[in-house]
Symmetry: C3
Subunit: 429 residues, 3 copies
């Protein structure tokens, strides 16, 4: 079943609507359900698991967290907060609790944002036992003194951390790496948009007739997931990966952003920047000092994978970030489509980015080979410009480097490269 | 007979007047006649020839083109266009034609420029058999319907391509390379000015008491000429040439220009830029993307000679370019002189650009050697500045590099270099 | 006896008042007296001497100059100039003279500054036998025709050049080098301030519990002193010195300045620039082209020590420079304190500037090690920022390089480095 690029936006937004209500965390049934829904589109996705307690580098896989229900009942007997309404209402990894408690004591377990009184904040406590509720500051301000009945019906038990891995073989063993994370509860841009874009890109890659490179695609919980994955695959990854992209916050329709790798010098930095310069109207470049997601692991010293981050508005740079305001209204079909288009161009660019040498000393006689373009005057000029400069700079450097020299995108010069290669004027090295 | 620099401008402009009327092309009697006139000034110039049909890299030496006369007679019997009046009237390499033809059909063989209605365009068709006439757009607009008698009395036959080569031996086998082209009919700046400046520079070089470097000077037809010359001399040229200059459009008196080499990193790039910065009031730097003359061959990958282009207003950057408006009024004695002066400084700079080392640890005692300058206060400061910095930076780097560091032209530091060398404080390495 | 940083400014200004009146020159009793007063604070200072006539590189140690008195008596018998009032009144190294002389002839031996009519200029003639008087231009303008009785009671005889050297051993044999000069008569900023700051820094260094590096501290006459010192110690200095600072003009309270080393690429360039960027409100960077003091020798080719100059307002950049206006009013306790503080930070920065590697793959779990900061929110952010970036960039580079990447001063990250090192997350290499 062929993937339709034209419907990519629609596909992604509808998948977002489906996945949005699920209560995800770094472990537990929500993440697994999410992976299974993605697998329903990507049959070859392998869902893997790692046991709680397993050591992964400096970390230990945590116990699995399951939550059935949670609520607060006020002194008047009204249920004023219910986990069923919004899974952000409970601090992630809350331990079970079932008691009557004074407002004063309860306050120590409440979270809200005074500056955004209508937003429920997103709070977690993975590695320190704790429990808590999150609510809007408006609601919190109105709480009256008295005894509250509170319930968190959760379990923290030995279990597994789940993640998805899809390897799409290409002609070469060298790999392009794509990563996103599936551990956030009901927030749309950060982070449902990442795994959803990744799903669409995987479908698009599967649909290609041939792939130059092998693609390593992973859906993991953030931080612990990337650390665990690296602890199992680092050697192979260091050997094979030529460029990698962490996808996050890619569903809104504002500007684009990229976060550079630690040393800002990898193929991934260059290709993404190249495509943003040529195809994005507005974009922002961030240095590695502004990192915050799994690039923290992928680029750490000793790991040093050539990975950059691709976003629309970067995490932490928009006010809805990590609150209930990051909902399905914040993302859109158009937002997804823009991200999809840029990333397709990025991957295409990597696929064609070979090194070429000129086979003929001095300029070739183009006329006798019928290589003079014969369209409108302006296009002739442009095509001759590309042609002559491809010949002039094919001295063993890559097409991306040539593109940067001549100021034309690598995808725009692709046809001319094929033409010159066919005519025996240049060849790949 | 010693060449007088003071009269260089006059000499060049009068040579331009003499050469201007000749109908040059890439082959044929006009180019040869031009070479012979140049040889009348430069006795050691060798005029060489290559047979039509000979393969030179990807190209073949074309047949020789000779044209005796050409005209158009209008339906009223008036000769409205005559090759004798302006050799731009006929498309270069026009095949012979002698016929009556309707205006409608004739139009397909006419060339004019609507935006420059008083200019006759310069058009050629070297490698595709064709014929045509060029006229002002004003004239073309007035042509009336009817039968026209047209004549082009030309021949395209096996023959030769001619070029001139002059090797001026120096103390070293390493060469400085100078090139210009002699294939354009009656246009003054592009391109009579180039070979004329080259002739004057050759006379100036011949007149020098001694030359550090050997000079390779060639007068060739553009493109096919440089390709042919390279095909015969590439190995030697790659081995010997340390800097080269293609001279073109050097007779007008507007700004100066340079086109950098392909990778913008050769001695020629550095020296020409240095001299323009110090001696030209206005100049423009162009990247290799703006190339258009024989540098296309000299800098092509695999050839990679250290060649840049020296111009006043660059080809393609002035409105008279490639039209009959590029005539003797566009160039001047002053324009030539300016170009001559810059190029002399460029060549002098290369001649003296040695690497030096300081022979004394710490600053030397200048007083005991009588090396303190004894002129006006301002000059003392300047001379001490040069002296102390020459000593400070003579650590094996070249004078050009030192000049760039201290912001003084290499020719200005020359005397001080000789003084310090004589005093045993620095020496060449 | 512990040195008190708090009283450093007071100590320095009071030492300046004591040293100011002494008539110093490159040799003679004034320089020696100055060294002895400094030694009264720095017991381990060794006062060394070199004989007149000894060859040091291209120079010869000059004879020793002693002057007892000097004056001018005008035609009316009034003593209008007396060396006892200001030692700038006599040209340094004046030969003895005792005669009656016409004003006309005397004029050739008088020095004044028309543009600064109230300033006595500072003039010397070390290497050319001569004599002369310096006075304000106001005074000179009023001199009347007639016979003047003039006396310079001086001697130029074989003797010694004196200098002071202090080696403070550290854990390593590698050295930090500090130099200043003690050859200027009564001028305050240039140059009493340099040796005085150097004395305070030496006291501060002596008072440190431990020193990572060995400190080589010298008090020398300018030019001939540094050349002589280098001629005796160059081999050792080239082997051991990792960074050096020439201190001059450090007592005024205007901006700060630095002069870069010859190639602008040494540790000294980097550390001083780093500290000025972080701790000086205003500072100016000068290239080596603006040099003028002993850095001329320290950085000369073949010597090539990693030395930069530290100043407040640089010599030659303030109007009082080299005149009697450079007096005790120009310098201040505050000016000295500012210089002392910057230089202490520079030396501390060098002491802690080690290279580190991260010992753990991926980010470490900070929580389980209690490494999450627990102060105010803003500080938490800042401390986490430093912590995570120290970990991210500890890939073998130095703390100074890391500081530059993250934009935080090296001294600010020191505590966090120690913490991470103690926790076994990073280690020195």
């Amino acid at each position: 079943m062929k993937f339709s690029c034209k419907k990519a936006g629609e596909f992604m937004y509808s998948l977002a609507k489906k996945l949005f209500p699920i209560n995800r965390s770094i472990t537990g049934p929500g993440a697994l359900k999410t992976l299974n829904i993605i697998k329903s589109h990507l049959n070859s996705l392998e869902i893997k698991k790692i046991k709680s307690g397993e050591k992964v580098f400096d970390w230990v896989i945590p116990k699995e967290w399951t939550i059935k229900k949670a609520h607060i009942i006020d002194p008047n007997g009204n249920k004023i907060l219910d986990f069923d309404n919004n899974n952000l209402h409970v601090v992630g990894y809350s331990t079970p609790v079932n008691m009557e408690i004074s407002l004063e004591k309860l306050q120590k377990h409440l979270h809200s944002i005074p500056a955004q009184p209508q937003a429920i904040p997103y709070v977690t406590s993975y590695y320190k036992e704790n429990w808590g509720f999150c609510m809007t500051h408006n609601q919190r301000s109105k709480l009256k003194k008295g005894k509250y009945k509170i319930l968190i019906d959760s379990k923290i038990e030995n279990g597994h951390l789940n993640y998805g891995e899809l390897i799409l073989k290409g002609k070469k063993k060298e790999e392009v790496f794509l990563s996103s994370y599936i551990c956030h509860p009901s927030m749309a841009n950060n982070e449902l948009s990442g795994p959803i874009l990744l799903c669409a890109l995987a479908l698009w890659l599967e649909a290609q007739k041939e792939r130059e490179y092998t693609y390593r695609i992973i859906f993991i919980p953030e931080t612990i997931g990337s650390i665990a994955y690296l602890s199992k695959n680092l050697k192979q990854m260091k050997k094979k990966i030529i460029a990698g992209f962490n996808l996050t916050c890619v569903g809104d329709n504002r500007n684009y952003s990229m976060i550079h790798s630690r040393l800002n010098d990898t193929l991934a930095d260059k290709v993404l920047l190249h495509c943003l310069k040529h195809y994005a109207k507005n974009f922002k470049e961030f240095s590695f000092l502004k990192r915050g997601s799994d690039e923290r692991q992928y680029c750490s010293p000793g790991v040093d994978l050539p990975v950059v981050v691709f976003c629309r508005t970067k995490f932490g740079e928009y006010e809805e970030y990590h609150t209930s305001l990051d909902n399905l209204d914040l993302i859109s079909k158009e937002g997804f489509e823009g991200s999809f288009n840029i990333m397709c161009k990025v991957l295409e660019s990597i696929e064609i980015n070979k090194k070429y040498i000129n086979l003929i000393l001095c300029e070739p006689q183009l006329g006798k080979r019928g290589l003079y373009p014969s369209v409108s005057k302006k296009d002739i000029y442009n095509e001759l410009f590309i042609q002559s400069n491809l010949l002039a700079y094919s001295d063993g450097r890559s097409l991306l480097e040539i593109s940067e020299i001549i100021g034309v995108s690598i995808l725009e010069i692709k046809e001319t490269v094929l033409q010159l290669e066919k005519a025996g004027l240049i060849k790949k090295i």
